[in-house]
Symmetry: D2
Subunit: 264 residues, 4 copies
């Protein structure tokens, strides 16, 4: 029952400079609180609502930036992959390969991610029951890679709405995989703004607290220095200036929860 | 930001003796932890799945038992009402009238409950959005009774399943009413056992912890000395012998949460 | 496999004159198409969103109007009951007692309705699986009344939205009870207008056609000569002027469906 | 308002011989009824629940079989693509490229499919509202390909269950794209059998009739000569021997519906 780890960073790698600035800022916050950090950012947003939406730096341009972040800050890095062919390449410069929720059942992608030997973090599809994630863990383990993490990020609840079922956390934990709660995507309103995805940032801390109280290995949160002008996920990212206070709250709850007799 | 209160007791008033024993036992636990207690039990289960299922002592027989519990233990008592005609009568011997979830939009029942001047606790219908509870608060307040509590007990999620949306707690709190989380009915599986309602007791503590971490005025939990043989709600009631440990967990989390700077 | 029957009329009995006008108008349409008609209107709207919303004529004032409609037009009449004490009284002047969806599990109401010997039409709760309606049929039959009809009116689907699961119709038909599809309440958006319930009238014909093609004993539709100014259910009632064309469509489909070899 | 077209065939291309036999058999049925047919089969099942489940012949082996089916039977052929790199290749031998529901928001796949100039049939994600399919149509049209079809195949409804919202059909039709109803995947129970996906074949005709009555350009149905022993989708495919009777039912309803005055 280790303290929760943090997976955080901006939704999209917008530029080398921005990524480095964000990594420095998030690392400083995490270090000041003694929280283990994995820096997250995406080199490509492959499923934007609109064709004209920005997608990020791209694989080639992002590779040296990931490498620089690891080296300069000593941070493990996580990014998401969308295609089997990307896995082995990106694995050279990142520590965790993340499978997006929509793609969590794509066998070739899972097998290719597993083959890198890197940790694989699978987001639970919005269309999947938590107990069905066992099949996905089995696919990865059978591919020779037991280093699997599972992330809850909300389940479809009618149209344009997600709901976070806190029972999902212990159910997925039965697989033996560390379970992460993604507090920022869980407040998305898919398609809720017509040509982009909406969100309710005000509920990030509500859901994050709840997940921490249930007991998780980590929390995933996207953060940005200027979310209202960010190229993606603005409505749900946490402003960088609010991150430390939120983490302190979570840390206070986590400390109590991990010491509860029933947690052991 | 007072510590959470507890609303607890057996699903059904089975007999005078059983009710008194349970009240004594739950009071002893609550007192030992310094938790404010409202004793809950139902004189009639008015919406059982099956006609042959037991319904409880009935209004007349239950009245003196409620009175005895109040007097002997000094406990405030809560029970649910199903019909406008019951309200004024039962209000003589109980402190809180509870409106069942299925009945939360029945105007006559709300008005009659309000007219008693007692506190009215309304369970949110499984079919209602949390923001729509404002209309119900308005009905009660317009009837002259501002002493309203609102209780989350799960929302319909496909068939035979409920999901607890933790966002519901702060959304309902915007009405100004104290918000309660019903941790045992939220794990019901309505109709899940063919001719009776199922439940998943193992998730009571999961959801209760989550709600406490979000921040609630109280927790509602049905408990029984022998739930597996209880006449109703057996699959989701907390065994009496497990109640104290669970409350201690919740209390530990609540203490931290109510002291968080962001909670103020 | 008889042709579908029609249960139709205005949401609320607004006045004697309006009820008689509507009954005459709907009867003329049904007669012209050879469709069996049950006239529906409510003497009391017992679960309005707001306390200030109109509720209808009330039981006493409505009784002679129901009697007059039956006598003058030779029409069977249906109305909904909200309380066990109303059943025996209202049964004097109506042919079908309807149990509202929110109340479909209230045992006393079901038993009282059954005791009248009248046909009982139960609307399936928005929170109930279709297979769980068997328990409700059992309650009525065990109370000595096998004259039961079951009505689909949508299932909760996220917040403020209903979805009509067409599988529900054959599943409920397994009980042996005639199955009705309520095409106007199924397009409600509960609470969708803040202090009143919204609706999408444009989808009434979509869902009614679908249900007829699946095969139902009847269709339930609220209709009004001026729905935009009706005191309730305006957003989903069918304008009276559009009723005949819609029924002709449904009749054309019904004739084909009831003759299909697989329907027998 | 042309008569509905049929997209049908076995879930998986199991072998050249089986594919040819099935194409011949389905064509004979469609021809006998005068129904336009697109033959569907998958060269690869890319998102099986389990790693050990069969996946089909694969792209290279399937190419000559698709070509042979087109040439020998004069049938247009549809298959699904899972990766942008497959699109241009497979487009040589098929007429319609289908985007699987889980992948319906993957921009690169949509753009690559559009670039082939072939018709692109997009299945609506189980996690998407019907009005959000407009963004997907826009992505394809903006990529230079206006030949788009949209297919409803069920929406997430709690865990392990789909519901078919018939309103989705006219809502998607507002995009101008022909709308198809997938009657066999809509009865899937995702993950419902632990390590494979379940289904309720008995409801295929229920949902297909409903969709035809609402009005669709086409119906999609997987069929097999021995579904109980098929390598995938057995629980929901229509037995080949039942296909003709089902189509005759649908045809009878479709003829009436397409002649309704309100359909024009």
């Amino acid at each position: 029952d280790a303290p929760f780890a943090l997976i955080a960073g901006p939704c999209m790698m917008e530029s080398r400079d921005h990524a480095l600035e964000m990594a420095a800022a998030v690392k400083e916050i995490a270090d000041s609180l003694g929280i283990g950090l994995v820096f997250k950012t995406s080199f490509d947003k492959a499923n934007r609502t609109s064709l004209s939406a920005k997608r990020g730096l791209g694989l080639s341009a992002a590779m040296p930036v990931f490498a620089e972040i690891r080296e300069r800050f000593g941070l493990p890095v996580l990014t998401d992959v969308h295609d089997a062919t990307q896995c082995m390449t990106i694995a050279e410069v990142v520590d965790v390969l993340q499978i997006p929720a929509f793609l969590c059942r794509q066998t070739d992608l899972l097998v290719a991610a597993a083959a890198t030997g890197r940790v694989v973090n699978v987001k639970k599809g919005q269309f999947l029951a938590p107990w069905d994630m066992r099949n996905i863990v089995d696919k990865l383990v059978a591919s020779g890679n037991p280093n699997v993490m599972l992330t809850e990020r909300g389940a479809s609840f009618g149209y344009n709405t997600l709901v976070s079922d806190m029972r999902s956390l212990p159910i997925m934990a039965r697989t033996g995989a560390p379970v992460i709660f993604d507090a920022t995507h869980s407040v998305q309103q898919p398609g809720g703004q017509g040509t982009s995805t909406g969100g309710e940032r005000e509920f990030v801390s509500v859901l994050a607290r709840a997940a921490i109280a249930v007991g998780v290995a980590g929390v995933f949160m996207e953060t940005h220095d200027d979310p209202d002008n960010a190229p993606c996920d603005g409505p749900n990212m946490i402003p960088l200036k609010d991150l430390k206070a939120l983490l302190m709250d979570l840390q206070a709850i986590d400390r109590v929860v991990k010491r509860l007799p029933t947690s052991n």
